[in-house]
Protein backbone atom coordinates (compact mmCIF):
# COMPACT_ATOMS: atom_id res chain seq x y z
CA UNK A 1 0.00 0.00 0.00
CA UNK A 2 -0.54 2.38 -1.33
CA UNK A 3 -1.27 3.31 -4.81
CA UNK A 4 -1.11 7.07 -5.26
CA UNK A 5 -0.85 8.89 -8.54
CA UNK A 6 0.57 12.37 -9.16
CA UNK A 7 -2.22 14.51 -10.59
CA UNK A 8 -2.58 18.20 -11.35
CA UNK A 9 -5.29 20.30 -9.72
CA UNK A 10 -7.49 22.01 -12.28
CA UNK A 11 -10.22 23.35 -10.00
CA UNK A 12 -10.45 24.11 -6.30
CA UNK A 13 -13.58 24.80 -4.27
CA UNK A 14 -12.98 24.65 -0.54
CA UNK A 15 -12.10 21.08 0.37
CA UNK A 16 -13.22 19.85 -3.03
CA UNK A 17 -11.04 19.87 -6.12
CA UNK A 18 -10.71 18.36 -9.54
CA UNK A 19 -7.46 16.60 -10.32
CA UNK A 20 -6.27 15.57 -13.76
CA UNK A 21 -3.67 13.32 -15.37
CA UNK A 22 -3.43 12.86 -19.15
CA UNK A 23 -6.99 14.17 -19.53
CA UNK A 24 -8.42 11.69 -17.03
CA UNK A 25 -10.01 13.54 -14.14
CA UNK A 26 -11.47 12.84 -10.72
CA UNK A 27 -13.24 14.87 -8.07
CA UNK A 28 -11.01 14.70 -5.03
CA UNK A 29 -10.77 16.09 -1.51
CA UNK A 30 -7.88 18.22 -0.36
CA UNK A 31 -8.68 18.47 3.37
CA UNK A 32 -5.17 17.44 4.37
CA UNK A 33 -3.26 20.07 2.44
CA UNK A 34 -3.36 23.80 3.10
CA UNK A 35 -2.42 26.44 0.55
CA UNK A 36 -3.05 24.54 -2.64
CA UNK A 37 -3.42 26.35 -5.94
CA UNK A 38 -4.72 25.37 -9.34
CA UNK A 39 -1.79 23.91 -11.24
CA UNK A 40 -0.24 22.25 -8.19
CA UNK A 41 0.67 18.59 -8.43
CA UNK A 42 -0.59 16.34 -5.66
CA UNK A 43 -0.52 12.64 -4.89
CA UNK A 44 -4.05 11.24 -5.00
CA UNK A 45 -4.90 8.10 -3.03
CA UNK A 46 -8.45 6.76 -2.73
CA UNK A 47 -9.88 10.12 -3.74
CA UNK A 48 -7.84 12.16 -1.26
CA UNK A 49 -4.78 14.32 -1.85
CA UNK A 50 -2.15 13.06 0.61
CA UNK A 51 0.81 15.19 -0.34
CA UNK A 52 1.76 18.13 -2.49
CA UNK A 53 4.62 17.33 -4.83
CA UNK A 54 7.60 19.57 -4.23
CA UNK A 55 8.32 20.32 -7.86
CA UNK A 56 11.63 22.01 -7.24
CA UNK A 57 12.84 19.10 -5.16
CA UNK A 58 11.77 16.73 -7.92
CA UNK A 59 13.48 18.71 -10.67
CA UNK A 60 16.68 19.04 -8.61
CA UNK A 61 16.78 15.32 -7.90
CA UNK A 62 16.23 14.52 -11.57
CA UNK A 63 18.86 17.02 -12.68
CA UNK A 64 21.38 15.50 -10.31
CA UNK A 65 20.54 11.98 -11.40
CA UNK A 66 20.86 12.92 -15.06
CA UNK A 67 24.25 14.45 -14.36
CA UNK A 68 25.40 11.28 -12.65
CA UNK A 69 24.02 9.22 -15.50
CA UNK A 70 25.92 11.21 -18.09
CA UNK A 71 29.11 10.79 -16.16
CA UNK A 72 28.95 7.02 -16.48
Amino acid sequence: MCLAVPMRLTQIDGVLAVAEVSSVTRKVRIDLLPDLAVGDFVLIHAGLAISKIDEREAEETLALLKELTDEV
Binding site: C2, V21, L48, T69
Partner: protein, 363 residues
Protein backbone atom coordinates in the same frame (compact mmCIF):
# COMPACT_ATOMS: atom_id res chain seq x y z
CA UNK B 1 2.34 11.38 -16.70
CA UNK B 2 4.31 14.06 -14.98
CA UNK B 3 6.30 13.15 -11.88
CA UNK B 4 5.81 9.51 -12.82
CA UNK B 5 7.44 9.05 -16.21
CA UNK B 6 10.62 10.90 -15.34
CA UNK B 7 11.14 8.53 -12.44
CA UNK B 8 10.96 5.57 -14.82
CA UNK B 9 13.84 6.79 -16.96
CA UNK B 10 15.73 3.71 -18.09
CA UNK B 11 19.12 5.41 -18.31
CA UNK B 12 18.88 6.76 -14.80
CA UNK B 13 17.78 3.37 -13.46
CA UNK B 14 20.65 1.63 -15.18
CA UNK B 15 23.19 4.14 -13.96
CA UNK B 16 22.02 3.61 -10.39
CA UNK B 17 22.28 -0.14 -10.98
CA UNK B 18 25.86 0.43 -12.07
CA UNK B 19 26.58 2.41 -8.90
CA UNK B 20 25.09 -0.39 -6.81
CA UNK B 21 27.47 -2.84 -8.39
CA UNK B 22 30.35 -0.61 -7.38
CA UNK B 23 29.11 -0.19 -3.84
CA UNK B 24 31.42 -1.12 -1.00
CA UNK B 25 28.57 -3.10 0.51
CA UNK B 26 28.46 -6.36 -1.40
CA UNK B 27 25.73 -8.23 0.38
CA UNK B 28 22.51 -7.22 2.03
CA UNK B 29 19.00 -8.44 2.72
CA UNK B 30 16.68 -5.50 2.32
CA UNK B 31 13.08 -5.74 3.38
CA UNK B 32 10.48 -3.63 1.68
CA UNK B 33 7.52 -3.19 3.95
CA UNK B 34 4.91 -2.22 1.47
CA UNK B 35 2.84 -4.29 -0.90
CA UNK B 36 3.02 -1.56 -3.48
CA UNK B 37 6.80 -1.83 -3.35
CA UNK B 38 6.48 -5.59 -3.91
CA UNK B 39 4.36 -4.95 -6.97
CA UNK B 40 6.64 -2.23 -8.31
CA UNK B 41 9.75 -4.33 -7.92
CA UNK B 42 8.07 -7.25 -9.67
CA UNK B 43 6.44 -5.20 -12.40
CA UNK B 44 9.66 -3.48 -13.39
CA UNK B 45 11.84 -6.52 -12.84
CA UNK B 46 14.02 -4.56 -10.45
CA UNK B 47 15.39 -7.57 -8.58
CA UNK B 48 17.52 -8.56 -11.54
CA UNK B 49 19.08 -5.11 -11.56
CA UNK B 50 20.42 -5.61 -8.07
CA UNK B 51 23.98 -6.86 -7.56
CA UNK B 52 24.51 -10.57 -6.80
CA UNK B 53 24.59 -10.38 -3.04
CA UNK B 54 21.71 -7.96 -2.58
CA UNK B 55 18.35 -9.54 -1.84
CA UNK B 56 14.96 -7.86 -1.67
CA UNK B 57 12.37 -9.51 0.56
CA UNK B 58 8.75 -8.61 1.23
CA UNK B 59 7.52 -7.74 4.69
CA UNK B 60 4.05 -7.33 6.17
CA UNK B 61 3.12 -4.20 4.33
CA UNK B 62 0.23 -5.48 2.32
CA UNK B 63 -2.81 -4.48 4.38
CA UNK B 64 -4.91 -6.88 2.39
CA UNK B 65 -2.56 -9.75 3.17
CA UNK B 66 -2.42 -9.01 6.89
CA UNK B 67 -6.17 -8.76 7.43
CA UNK B 68 -6.99 -11.61 9.78
CA UNK B 69 -9.41 -14.32 8.60
CA UNK B 70 -11.59 -13.59 11.64
CA UNK B 71 -11.99 -10.02 10.50
CA UNK B 72 -12.85 -11.05 6.96
CA UNK B 73 -15.35 -13.59 8.29
CA UNK B 74 -16.96 -10.93 10.46
CA UNK B 75 -17.29 -8.46 7.61
CA UNK B 76 -18.77 -11.12 5.33
CA UNK B 77 -21.25 -12.05 8.05
CA UNK B 78 -22.62 -8.53 7.87
CA UNK B 79 -23.89 -9.38 4.40
CA UNK B 80 -26.75 -11.16 6.11
CA UNK B 81 -27.98 -8.00 7.80
CA UNK B 82 -31.26 -7.04 6.11
CA UNK B 83 -30.65 -4.44 3.40
CA UNK B 84 -26.89 -4.58 3.82
CA UNK B 85 -24.65 -3.27 1.09
CA UNK B 86 -21.06 -4.38 1.66
CA UNK B 87 -18.73 -1.79 0.17
CA UNK B 88 -15.03 -2.41 -0.29
CA UNK B 89 -11.92 -1.54 -2.21
CA UNK B 90 -11.38 -3.90 -5.12
CA UNK B 91 -8.33 -5.37 -3.42
CA UNK B 92 -10.43 -7.30 -0.92
CA UNK B 93 -12.94 -8.89 -3.28
CA UNK B 94 -11.19 -12.21 -3.76
CA UNK B 95 -9.36 -12.52 -0.43
CA UNK B 96 -10.52 -15.66 1.33
CA UNK B 97 -11.62 -15.67 4.95
CA UNK B 98 -11.95 -19.07 6.59
CA UNK B 99 -14.30 -20.43 4.00
CA UNK B 100 -15.58 -17.81 1.64
CA UNK B 101 -14.84 -14.41 0.13
CA UNK B 102 -16.67 -11.24 -0.87
CA UNK B 103 -16.72 -12.48 -4.45
CA UNK B 104 -18.35 -15.75 -3.48
CA UNK B 105 -20.82 -14.08 -1.17
CA UNK B 106 -21.75 -11.77 -4.01
CA UNK B 107 -22.47 -14.79 -6.17
CA UNK B 108 -24.57 -16.20 -3.33
CA UNK B 109 -26.68 -13.06 -3.27
CA UNK B 110 -24.96 -10.48 -1.08
CA UNK B 111 -25.03 -6.90 -2.34
CA UNK B 112 -21.34 -6.10 -2.78
CA UNK B 113 -20.08 -2.85 -4.29
CA UNK B 114 -16.53 -1.93 -5.18
CA UNK B 115 -15.39 1.66 -4.81
CA UNK B 116 -12.25 3.65 -5.44
CA UNK B 117 -12.76 5.98 -2.49
CA UNK B 118 -14.51 5.57 0.90
CA UNK B 119 -16.25 8.86 0.11
CA UNK B 120 -18.07 7.02 -2.66
CA UNK B 121 -19.43 4.67 0.00
CA UNK B 122 -20.88 7.68 1.80
CA UNK B 123 -22.59 8.72 -1.43
CA UNK B 124 -24.10 5.26 -1.78
CA UNK B 125 -25.48 5.61 1.74
CA UNK B 126 -26.91 9.02 0.92
CA UNK B 127 -28.52 7.72 -2.26
CA UNK B 128 -29.95 4.55 -0.73
CA UNK B 129 -31.44 5.55 2.63
CA UNK B 130 -33.28 2.24 3.00
CA UNK B 131 -30.07 0.26 2.86
CA UNK B 132 -27.40 -0.40 5.44
CA UNK B 133 -24.00 0.53 4.00
CA UNK B 134 -20.98 -1.08 5.64
CA UNK B 135 -17.55 -0.07 4.41
CA UNK B 136 -14.55 -2.37 4.83
CA UNK B 137 -11.90 -0.13 6.35
CA UNK B 138 -8.67 -1.78 5.19
CA UNK B 139 -5.35 -0.03 4.74
CA UNK B 140 -2.59 1.73 6.58
CA UNK B 141 -2.11 5.35 7.50
CA UNK B 142 -2.27 6.37 3.86
CA UNK B 143 -5.90 5.33 3.66
CA UNK B 144 -7.02 6.21 7.18
CA UNK B 145 -7.49 9.95 6.53
CA UNK B 146 -9.91 9.29 3.67
CA UNK B 147 -11.89 6.96 5.91
CA UNK B 148 -11.86 9.47 8.76
CA UNK B 149 -13.14 12.17 6.42
CA UNK B 150 -15.88 9.80 5.28
CA UNK B 151 -17.01 9.21 8.84
CA UNK B 152 -17.01 12.92 9.63
CA UNK B 153 -18.89 13.62 6.42
CA UNK B 154 -21.49 10.97 7.23
CA UNK B 155 -21.91 12.53 10.67
CA UNK B 156 -22.33 16.01 9.21
CA UNK B 157 -24.96 14.70 6.83
CA UNK B 158 -26.75 12.81 9.60
CA UNK B 159 -26.60 9.53 7.71
CA UNK B 160 -28.12 6.78 9.81
CA UNK B 161 -27.16 4.01 7.42
CA UNK B 162 -23.39 4.27 7.09
CA UNK B 163 -20.84 2.37 9.19
CA UNK B 164 -17.22 1.40 8.82
CA UNK B 165 -15.88 -2.04 9.75
CA UNK B 166 -12.47 -0.88 10.80
CA UNK B 167 -9.46 -3.15 10.42
CA UNK B 168 -6.92 -0.43 9.71
CA UNK B 169 -3.42 -1.06 10.95
CA UNK B 170 -0.50 1.23 11.69
CA UNK B 171 3.02 0.83 10.43
CA UNK B 172 5.43 1.91 13.17
CA UNK B 173 4.02 -0.47 15.79
CA UNK B 174 4.17 -3.33 13.32
CA UNK B 175 7.76 -2.54 12.41
CA UNK B 176 8.72 -2.42 16.07
CA UNK B 177 7.16 -5.81 16.67
CA UNK B 178 8.85 -7.25 13.60
CA UNK B 179 12.29 -6.03 14.60
CA UNK B 180 11.88 -6.77 18.30
CA UNK B 181 10.78 -10.30 17.46
CA UNK B 182 14.34 -10.95 16.34
CA UNK B 183 13.30 -13.59 13.87
CA UNK B 184 13.75 -11.39 10.89
CA UNK B 185 17.32 -10.37 10.19
CA UNK B 186 17.53 -7.60 7.67
CA UNK B 187 20.32 -5.30 6.61
CA UNK B 188 17.94 -2.48 5.98
CA UNK B 189 14.35 -1.43 5.42
CA UNK B 190 12.70 0.33 2.52
CA UNK B 191 9.97 2.29 4.29
CA UNK B 192 6.59 2.91 2.66
CA UNK B 193 6.71 6.32 1.03
CA UNK B 194 2.99 7.01 0.97
CA UNK B 195 2.30 6.00 4.56
CA UNK B 196 5.12 8.39 5.40
CA UNK B 197 3.44 11.34 3.68
CA UNK B 198 0.96 11.06 6.55
CA UNK B 199 3.10 10.06 9.54
CA UNK B 200 6.34 11.87 8.62
CA UNK B 201 9.82 10.37 8.32
CA UNK B 202 10.62 11.15 11.96
CA UNK B 203 8.09 8.52 13.00
CA UNK B 204 10.68 5.87 12.24
CA UNK B 205 13.54 7.35 14.28
CA UNK B 206 13.20 4.54 16.79
CA UNK B 207 14.30 2.03 14.16
CA UNK B 208 17.67 3.66 13.79
CA UNK B 209 18.05 4.45 17.48
CA UNK B 210 16.81 1.23 19.07
CA UNK B 211 17.57 -1.33 16.41
CA UNK B 212 20.38 0.24 14.38
CA UNK B 213 18.76 -0.78 11.14
CA UNK B 214 19.40 1.50 8.16
CA UNK B 215 16.21 2.77 6.57
CA UNK B 216 15.23 4.62 3.43
CA UNK B 217 11.83 6.25 2.99
CA UNK B 218 11.20 5.18 -0.57
CA UNK B 219 8.83 6.08 -3.37
CA UNK B 220 7.39 3.63 -5.85
CA UNK B 221 8.76 4.38 -9.25
CA UNK B 222 11.79 2.38 -10.42
CA UNK B 223 14.18 5.28 -9.84
CA UNK B 224 12.78 5.74 -6.35
CA UNK B 225 13.27 2.11 -5.42
CA UNK B 226 16.78 2.01 -6.79
CA UNK B 227 17.61 5.12 -4.75
CA UNK B 228 16.20 3.37 -1.70
CA UNK B 229 18.44 0.36 -2.20
CA UNK B 230 21.40 2.62 -2.87
CA UNK B 231 20.80 4.43 0.39
CA UNK B 232 20.76 1.19 2.40
CA UNK B 233 23.95 -0.10 0.78
CA UNK B 234 25.66 3.25 1.41
CA UNK B 235 24.59 3.29 5.04
CA UNK B 236 25.85 -0.27 5.48
CA UNK B 237 29.15 0.56 3.84
CA UNK B 238 29.56 3.55 6.14
CA UNK B 239 28.42 1.64 9.20
CA UNK B 240 25.59 4.05 9.96
CA UNK B 241 21.90 3.62 10.57
CA UNK B 242 19.58 6.51 9.93
CA UNK B 243 16.22 7.29 8.37
CA UNK B 244 17.16 8.55 4.93
CA UNK B 245 14.32 10.26 3.08
CA UNK B 246 14.83 9.45 -0.59
CA UNK B 247 11.29 10.48 -1.49
CA UNK B 248 11.71 14.11 -0.53
CA UNK B 249 9.45 15.37 -3.30
CA UNK B 250 6.50 13.93 -1.40
CA UNK B 251 7.65 13.22 2.15
CA UNK B 252 8.61 15.53 5.04
CA UNK B 253 10.13 14.75 8.40
CA UNK B 254 6.99 15.90 10.17
CA UNK B 255 3.65 14.23 10.17
CA UNK B 256 0.76 15.90 8.36
CA UNK B 257 -0.86 17.93 11.15
CA UNK B 258 -4.35 17.87 9.67
CA UNK B 259 -4.23 14.12 9.32
CA UNK B 260 -3.11 13.92 12.95
CA UNK B 261 -6.03 16.03 14.12
CA UNK B 262 -8.44 13.90 12.08
CA UNK B 263 -7.04 10.74 13.61
CA UNK B 264 -7.35 12.18 17.13
CA UNK B 265 -10.92 13.13 16.42
CA UNK B 266 -12.14 9.89 14.88
CA UNK B 267 -9.82 7.05 15.89
CA UNK B 268 -7.91 5.71 18.86
CA UNK B 269 -5.21 3.02 18.97
CA UNK B 270 -6.05 -0.57 19.77
CA UNK B 271 -4.46 -3.97 19.48
CA UNK B 272 -4.70 -5.55 16.05
CA UNK B 273 -4.62 -9.12 14.80
CA UNK B 274 -2.19 -9.50 11.91
CA UNK B 275 -2.70 -12.52 9.72
CA UNK B 276 0.20 -14.89 10.09
CA UNK B 277 1.82 -12.81 12.80
CA UNK B 278 -0.68 -12.58 15.59
CA UNK B 279 -1.78 -9.75 17.80
CA UNK B 280 0.51 -6.74 17.84
CA UNK B 281 -0.28 -4.26 20.63
CA UNK B 282 -1.39 -0.77 19.63
CA UNK B 283 -0.93 -1.53 15.94
CA UNK B 284 -4.51 -0.95 14.92
CA UNK B 285 -7.17 1.66 15.34
CA UNK B 286 -10.77 1.66 16.35
CA UNK B 287 -13.45 4.26 15.99
CA UNK B 288 -13.83 6.57 19.00
CA UNK B 289 -16.99 6.61 21.09
CA UNK B 290 -17.91 10.01 19.70
CA UNK B 291 -18.41 8.38 16.32
CA UNK B 292 -19.70 5.02 17.53
CA UNK B 293 -22.82 5.54 15.45
CA UNK B 294 -20.59 4.85 12.46
CA UNK B 295 -18.82 1.86 13.92
CA UNK B 296 -20.00 -1.38 12.38
CA UNK B 297 -18.49 -3.35 15.25
CA UNK B 298 -20.86 -1.56 17.64
CA UNK B 299 -23.96 -1.44 15.47
CA UNK B 300 -23.72 -5.07 14.50
CA UNK B 301 -22.07 -6.43 17.63
CA UNK B 302 -24.45 -9.38 17.88
CA UNK B 303 -23.87 -10.53 14.33
CA UNK B 304 -20.13 -10.23 14.76
CA UNK B 305 -20.08 -12.05 18.08
CA UNK B 306 -21.89 -14.98 16.50
CA UNK B 307 -19.15 -15.52 13.93
CA UNK B 308 -17.16 -18.65 14.82
CA UNK B 309 -13.44 -18.29 15.46
CA UNK B 310 -11.46 -19.02 12.33
CA UNK B 311 -9.63 -22.37 12.46
CA UNK B 312 -5.86 -22.43 12.05
CA UNK B 313 -5.18 -22.81 8.38
CA UNK B 314 -2.36 -24.45 6.47
CA UNK B 315 -1.62 -21.15 4.92
CA UNK B 316 1.98 -20.08 5.46
CA UNK B 317 1.43 -16.48 4.39
CA UNK B 318 2.56 -15.36 7.80
CA UNK B 319 6.06 -16.71 7.22
CA UNK B 320 6.21 -15.03 3.85
CA UNK B 321 4.94 -11.77 5.31
CA UNK B 322 7.59 -11.77 8.04
CA UNK B 323 10.20 -12.30 5.37
CA UNK B 324 11.03 -15.65 6.94
CA UNK B 325 10.22 -17.56 3.79
CA UNK B 326 10.28 -16.83 0.08
CA UNK B 327 7.11 -17.45 -1.94
CA UNK B 328 8.76 -20.17 -3.97
CA UNK B 329 9.69 -22.05 -0.79
CA UNK B 330 6.09 -22.41 0.31
CA UNK B 331 4.99 -25.99 -0.43
CA UNK B 332 1.67 -24.73 -1.70
CA UNK B 333 3.09 -22.10 -4.05
CA UNK B 334 2.03 -22.79 -7.62
CA UNK B 335 0.49 -26.09 -6.65
CA UNK B 336 -2.44 -25.89 -4.24
CA UNK B 337 -2.14 -22.11 -4.20
CA UNK B 338 -2.38 -20.13 -7.45
CA UNK B 339 -3.89 -16.76 -8.32
CA UNK B 340 -7.04 -18.35 -9.67
CA UNK B 341 -7.42 -20.64 -6.64
CA UNK B 342 -5.59 -19.00 -3.78
CA UNK B 343 -5.16 -20.45 -0.32
CA UNK B 344 -3.99 -17.28 1.33
CA UNK B 345 -3.95 -13.56 0.85
CA UNK B 346 -0.35 -13.37 -0.35
CA UNK B 347 -1.54 -15.02 -3.53
CA UNK B 348 -4.88 -13.29 -3.84
CA UNK B 349 -3.80 -9.77 -3.32
CA UNK B 350 -2.35 -8.42 -6.52
CA UNK B 351 0.43 -6.94 -4.43
CA UNK B 352 0.99 -10.00 -2.29
CA UNK B 353 4.48 -11.37 -2.44
CA UNK B 354 3.28 -14.68 -3.83
CA UNK B 355 1.03 -13.19 -6.47
CA UNK B 356 3.84 -10.96 -7.62
CA UNK B 357 6.26 -13.87 -7.69
CA UNK B 358 3.78 -16.03 -9.57
CA UNK B 359 2.77 -13.39 -12.09
CA UNK B 360 6.13 -11.89 -12.78
CA UNK B 361 8.35 -14.86 -12.06
CA UNK B 362 10.18 -13.44 -9.09
CA UNK B 363 12.89 -14.83 -6.84
Amino acid sequence: MRFSDEFRDAKIVQSIAERLRNSACKSATIMEVCGTHTMSAARFGLKSLLPEGVRLVSGPGCPVCVTAPNDIDAFLALGSVPGAILVSFGDMLRVPGSSTSLERERAAGADVRIVYSPLDAVEIAANEPDKQIVFFGVGFETTMPAVAISIVSAAERNLANFTVFCVHKTMPAALRALLAGGEVKVSGLLLPGHVTTIIGADAYDFIAKEFSVPCAVTGFEPVDMMLGVESILKQRAEGVAKIDNVYARAVSPQANPRAGRLFDKVFEPCDADWRGIGVIPASGIRIRDGYSAFDARKRFAEVIEAVPIAPISECLCGDVLRGAMRPVDCPQFGAACTPSDPVGPCMVSSEGACAAAYRYGGD
